[in-house]
């Protein structure tokens, strides 16, 4: 936990160095951009792999790739060298959110029309509901970052700047990701004890964050849990890489096993969302001070 806290503090402090217009909001904006970049890369790699597997049967299957790539570029730039709000960024983020929502509806329709409808077998193996939901989150977090980047910017969706809203979005995102990991690790029958981690640690972080949002009081423990969740997302990739190795042919057969094994890009979504949660804590802290 203390390493998690240190990590979270470290992440939060990175931004203080570049203290810009209104300290906290600017810092939170940059953190959100960082979180959105991580989530966007996860979506980018995941949708590219999965839609490649699906042979791009529907031309719309390129949309999440294009939008997550755009989101990654814009959020990445905002993280490394903030340039402030822009209409282009806003458009990309909003479109990513819209495509994510449409994708969610489409995937749900697709699952529903399978033999057996919303049976577990289809939730396990058919168009995943979690994936487009993550694109939706990318768009939302990107928009929040963009809204916070310049307090003087037009009033469009100003509520997205509210600390409580940022915190709630991060918490909901984490909860959804926990649900997805829970479903897919259940599909894997929790055959490795490490598979319990993403369904136990992030829920604690989520609850702790929600409590802070309600009480408007960020606590050390929440920093710790979110930091640990961020670290878990990275470690999770290593576990998934090991999972890939356990398929027939191992990494030598990477072209098949990257698709057959546990998805490498999935765990980092936790990291991105945890960072967004830390951004919310930063805003909450500032609100109390102010």
């Amino acid at each position: 936990m203390s390493t998690g806290t240190a990590l979270a503090r470290g992440i939060a402090r990175l931004n203080d160095v570049a203290r810009a217009p209104r300290g906290a909001e600017r810092a939170a904006s940059r953190l959100l951009s960082a979180g959105a970049s991580v989530v966007a890369s996860s979506v980018l790699v995941d949708s590219a792999m999965e839609h490649y597997r699906g042979s791009f049967r529907d031309p719309a299957m390129v949309l999440p790739i294009a939008l997550s790539a755009g989101s990654l570029l814009l959020n990445g730039r905002e993280t490394l060298a903030p340039a402030g709000p822009s209409t282009l960024a806003r458009m990309v983020h909003v479109t990513a959110g819209a495509v994510g929502s449409a994708g969610l509806a489409f995937h749900a329709w697709n699952v529903g029309k399978q033999a057996g409808g919303f049976r577990l077998v289809n939730l396990f193996y058919r168009a995943p509901l979690g994936a487009p939901a993550t694109l939706l989150l990318t768009g939302l977090i990107g928009t929040m970052a963009e809204r916070l980047a310049d307090p003087a910017a037009p009033r469009f969706a100003a509520f997205l700047r509210a600390p409580r809203v940022v915190g709630t979005v991060a918490a909901m995102g984490l909860a959804g990701t926990v649900a997805e990991a829970g479903l897919l690790h259940f599909r894997g029958a929790y055959h490795d004890p490490a598979m319990w981690l993403p369904v136990s640690l992030p829920p604690l972080a989520t609850l702790s964050l929600l409590r802070d949002v309600l009480t408007l009081a960020p606590r050390r423990m929440t920093y710790g849990l979110l930091g640990a969740t961020a670290a878990m997302g990275v470690i999770g990739m290593a576990f998934h890489a090991y999972g890939v190795a356990r398929n027939m042919g191992g990494w030598r057969n990477w072209r098949q096993n990257l698709l057959a094994g546990p998805p490498l890009p999935a765990p980092p979504s936790f990291s991105g969302l945890a960072v967004a949660g830390i951004a919310a804590l930063r805003l909450l802290k500032d609100m109390r001070r102010g």
Partner: protein, 551 residues
């Protein structure tokens, strides 16, 4: 190169020098205890679904065990090719004679010859009997009762399901409550989806088939890759055959496996007790002394061995005072309905039977026959499919080519149906001998009217299901059978059965049978899970009898 290896494998045993192949590691070995020709507690003849778990569980109790198999000890990762013809090396194709009104087809569809037995190339469907089928005489008015209560079997089923990491649905629609399957379901291939849609249209339950192949990596075994070579042997070790599950466990517990060891005769002494087995290995006959002998060669080879072991005191065959050794041979009906759809199906992708309905196994009303049947989606490999078309529809030349071109659009449903015990269906000895000089089995089989009525109902129903999903040009395949059972049945007394509930011969107290031949009835589901559950029970019972000094 594989062929060369196969050639040497065919003649040179791999087990010996204190080691046996590790089936899960290319070129790997497991240290193995060896007993030489010293008298051991148990010699087990056959290492399939019956022999392998018994060997493991007896060795774990501290008994000295040698398990012999006429077949080779393979390492699937390096010995199995994705080639239907090459993989014929897994089948028992020694000479056998067939007759009766409906001579059985023997070999690929029902008999394996390898360490691991028929489970090396079986289709992995892992079902529990319907409880009433353990007492079909008293509950349903046909066949005979088993001497074992279904509740006891339920516990052993659970043990086997855990051992084999069966992947199955969270909720099973039929029968009494069962624990959750250890692993989750596999994705359904297109063939399975047609079963599901058809069942829905006809208003009956269906589910994903409980199946013995991994949906997640376990130990050194890889998860299933859905290439569909299952019935020619699985080269990834995802399939939980006896070879990759019970056999390594048996070796680790101190059992010795003798591959390429064909047992020709069980020896008995003047008092009528078994003293050991004569077996052929590495071009010579040997004798292995044993305090107990277990026949586990499946429902043709086990009665053949007992009959071939006749002696002066038991001239009609060993353990045959009831006259029932070889009688009541049962197969299961394996008729199918096929049709063509517009969509590309490629039903051979993935394990062949990923969806199932046990509706007609659990429903007795509305039938003009006795017994139950289940049906499953099907996915035949190309060469097998070509053979089916040639044999059952007489297609040849251009007609066969045209039909093969439509193979990717073919959907099919196949039944597993209960055949009732009938003493006239039997295994006897022919006068001809095989490569070892042993008299070969003659297998006599005819359908009764009951079976013919069951087939008609099943095929019509399956056809209706296909048509409800838009299949056209449907046709029936009426000639297939699968699974064997019943030629050394268990029962409650010596007059009406060959062995007791523990698999122990009534006549020869140190002779046991542990394989599909002990089934008094076969029920309407595939047998391997039941055979393994019975083997686990037999092992426990032997332990209990030993503790009481009753061995």
């Amino acid at each position: 190169m594989i062929d060369q290896r196969h050639d040497t494998l065919d003649h040179t045993p791999r087990c010996g020098d204190g080691r046996a192949p590790d089936p899960l590691v290319p070129a790997g070995w497991l240290p193995m205890r060896e007993y030489g020709e010293d008298e051991v507690d148990f010699v087990i003849v056959g290492t399939g679904a019956g022999g392998a778990p018994l060997a493991a569980k007896l060795a774990e109790q501290g008994f000295s065990v040698i398990a012999m198999d006429a077949g080779a000890f393979f390492r699937p990762l390096e010995d199995f090719a994705s080639d239907e013809m090459h993989q014929r090396k897994l089948y028992w194709t020694d000479d056998r004679l067939v007759d009766g009104d409906n001579p059985l087809q023997l070999g690929a569809n029902n008999s394996g010859k390898a360490v691991g037995g028929s489970t090396i190339h079986f289709a992995m469907v892992s079902l529990r009997f319907r409880p009433e089928h353990f007492a079909s005489r008293s509950k349903l008015g046909y066949g005979v009762d088993w001497p074992i209560d279904w509740r006891e079997m339920w516990r052993y089923y659970e043990e086997v399901e855990r051992m084999l990491h069966i992947s199955g649905p969270v909720r099973y629609p039929w029968g009494p409550k069962r624990p959750r399957y250890p692993l989750r379901v596999h994705p359904m291939n297109a063939g399975a989806q047609y079963l599901a849609r058809g069942a829905k249209a006809l208003g009956i339950d269906w589910t994903e088939t409980p199946i013995a192949t991994l949906s997640t990596p376990i130990g050194k075994a890889h998860p299933c890759v859905y290439r569909g070579f299952c019935v020619t042997g699985c080269s990834t070790n995802a399939k939980q055959s006896a070879l990759v599950t019970w056999i390594p466990r048996a070796i680790r517990a101190g059992a010795e496996i003798r591959d390429l060891a064909m047992v020709g005769r069980i020896e008995t002494d003047a008092s009528g007790r078994a003293t050991g087995v004569h077996y052929h290995r590495a071009d010579a006959w040997h004798f292995q002394k044993a305090r107990h002998v277990v026949a586990a060669g499946y429902a043709i080879e086990t009665p053949r061995l007992l009959l071939n072991s006749a002696n002066a005191a038991q001239p009609d065959g060993l353990a045959n005072s009831s006259g029932l050794v070889g009688r009541n041979l049962m197969v299961q009906l394996n008729q199918a309905a096929w049709g063509e759809v517009d969509k590309e199906v490629r039903a051979y992708k993935g394990p062949p039977s990923l969806a199932i309905s046990e509706h007609w196994n659990y429903t007795d009303a509305g039938k003009d026959y006795l017994g139950g049947w289940t049906y499953m989606s099907q996915g035949p490999l190309p060469a097998q499919w070509a053979r089916t078309l040639a044999r059952t529809r007489g297609l040849w030349g251009q007609a066969l080519v045209d039909e093969m071109n439509r193979a990717n659009h073919t959907v099919g449903l196949k039944m597993v149906g209960e055949v009732l015990p009938n003493e006239a269906n039997r295994v006897t000895l022919a006068d001809e001998t095989d490569q070892y000089g042993l008299r070969i089995p003659r297998v006599t089989f005819s359908y009764s009217d009951n079976e013919k009525r069951m087939m008609r109902h099943a095929v019509a129903f399956m056809k209706q299901s296909l048509e409800a999903t838009g299949a056209r040009d449907t046709w029936d395949q009426m000639d297939d059978t699968c699974h064997l059972g019943g030629t050394a049945r268990m029962g409650r007394n010596a007059a009406t059965s060959v062995v007791d509930a523990d698999g122990r011969s009534w006549d020869v107290p140190n002779l046991w049978v542990c394989d599909g031949s002990v089934f008094p009835t076969v029920g309407g589901v595939n047998p391997s899970l039941t055979i393994q559950a019975l083997a686990c029970r037999t092992a426990d019972r032997i332990g209990a009898l030993a503790r009481r000094g009753e061995l």
